[in-house]
Amino acid sequence: MRTLPVTVRDGRPTKMTWNRRTFSVDKIVDHWRESGRWWEGEGLCEFFLVHTIRGMFVLRFDPKKDRWYAKPVR
């Protein structure tokens, strides 16, 4: 996953940047949380499956690092 800037409103992503292009998030298809491997110290992460003009992406937000990550989904 790559880190990238994401615009957020009310805790939900509205815009994202990918390959130096910024575009809006059309629709949040799914939203979930994962605790990860908590026994190894992994923290809770928030996931959004979003639909954009560039296709579907999975956005992950890591509150510990305060960072967004994205990965395209086919």
């Binding site: 994962e34 990860g36 491997r37 499956l49 579907m56 999975v58 990965k71 989904v73």
Partner: protein, 391 residues
């Protein structure tokens, strides 16, 4: 008449553990393998903790017992140090465990010396080098040598009968139930066992005909040379010993040793370059961060190593590769964009064939395998179990 000796080092694994963790000195210590005590320190032995008992029983007997797991990688250095001493005495050194093995001293005992004296010297040398105490026993064959371990003497053929009459049948390594049964019939020692007719056991113990002679099996293969560990080396004689010739020799020797490595599918963790001059030998050694396999890499390293340090006018160069380990099979990932075949758009099966012909290996990583190298999220694994895919 052969002089086969069986040597075993007491507290070997304890010493290894203590080498790696000095905090374990002077504490009752047990080294465990498969939940059983492999070795116990002297302090632990006072509490009746000895090899063979279960971990649970050991802890019951000795509440202060510290247990560590057996780690074969840690044994290497002590193993080399200990067995090297014997390797300098005889070429036939066959360690069967890290801490025990056979030697064939036939022809190695000088006139005026006995086997016992020779072994005493060697063991003293081992002790000075490693602090390990050894015990030994010897005989004409491996069977007798093993049985007499702890006696610290070589059992001559004339003494064999008397010796075996004293050795308990438990030393043959049979189960205690079987020993118990034999004892009920008055058979307690190996000597007595050897005298009992074969039919007796078939009748009274119900064992198949061939079973009991296996207990007394003698002979077997002779002592093999397993130590010192193999090395790959090559040497080249030099006429002039000038820089040009040295560089050419280095290239040649690198190819030679690399070819040998490739032949036996190995890579080297360490190498030495020995220059023989009229004034003596100069050795340069290096342990690269990654194991070496190819001639080019080796030549580059040797040149870098030799650099300014080479002596004047050597008449011989030797390159010795040590710390040999099997070569890892290269994983060629078709799904990464690094394969040289990506431009050619040939079918996967064809690509695989080409790669296999080129590299000579069967293993070519598929996309599924590649995905495994990037560990999935735990939630993905859970969802996979549910029959669902999580992006």
């Amino acid at each position: 008449m052969r002089l086969v000796v069986y040597v075993t080092f007491k507290f070997f694994y304890v010493a290894v553990a203590r080498q790696h963790d000095p905090d374990l000195q002077d504490v009752p210590l047990a080294v465990l393998k498969d939940n059983r005590v492999l070795d116990a320190s002297q302090e632990a032995e006072k509490w009746d903790v000895h090899p063979g008992i279960s971990c649970r029983l050991a802890q019951q007997r000795c509440p202060d017992l510290v247990c560590v797991d057996f780690n074969p990688d840690q044994c290497r250095t002590l193993y080399d140090d200990a067995w090297q001493v014997f390797a300098e005495t005889t070429p036939l050194v066959e360690p069967v465990e890290f801490h025990a093995g056979f030697l064939d001293l036939t022809g190695c005992v000088r006139a005026g010396k006995t086997v016992a004296e020779l072994m005493q010297e060697r063991l003293t040398e081992v002790f000075c080098k490693t602090d390990l105490r050894g015990t030994w026993g010897g005989g004409q064959d491996k069977w007798l040598a093993r049985l007499s371990c702890g006696e610290d003497r070589w059992i001559a053929p004339t003494d064999e009968e008397a010796f075996l009459a004293r050795v308990s049948i438990r030393r043959l390594g049979v189960s205690s139930d079987f020993c118990e049964k034999l004892q009920r019939y008055g058979v307690r020692s190996v000597g007595e066992l050897m005298k009992v007719p074969r039919s007796f056991f078939q009748i009274h113990l119900g064992s198949p005909a061939g079973a009991w002679p296996l207990l007394l099996q003698r002979g077997g293969p002779s002592v093999k040379a397993l130590f010192p560990p193999p090395v790959v080396q090559a040497r080249k004689h030099l006429h002039w010993g000038d820089d040009m010739e040295i560089l050419r020799a280095i290239g040649y020797l690198s190819e030679e040793v690399a070819r040998e490595l490739e032949r036996c599918h190995q890579q080297a963790g360490r190498f030495r370059v020995v220059f023989c001059c009229s004034g003596g030998e100069t050795t340069l050694e290096m342990k690269p961060t990654r194991p070496l396999g190819s001639a080019e890499t080796l030549e580059r390293f040797i040149r870098r190593l030799v650099g300014e340090k080479r002596p004047e006018r050597p008449h011989e160069i030797r390159v010795i590769l040590e710390d040999l380990t099997p070569l890892p099979q290269p994983q060629i990932d078709l799904w990464r964009n690094k394969t040289p075949l990506r431009e050619k758009r040939i079918p996967i099966e064809k690509s695989r064939e080409i790669l296999e012909r080129k590299y000579g290996f069967q293993i070519v990583q598929s996309g599924v395998d590649y995905a495994k190298t990037v560990p999935p999220r735990f939630a993905q694994l859970i969802y996979a179990r549910r029959g669902m895919h999580l992006p």
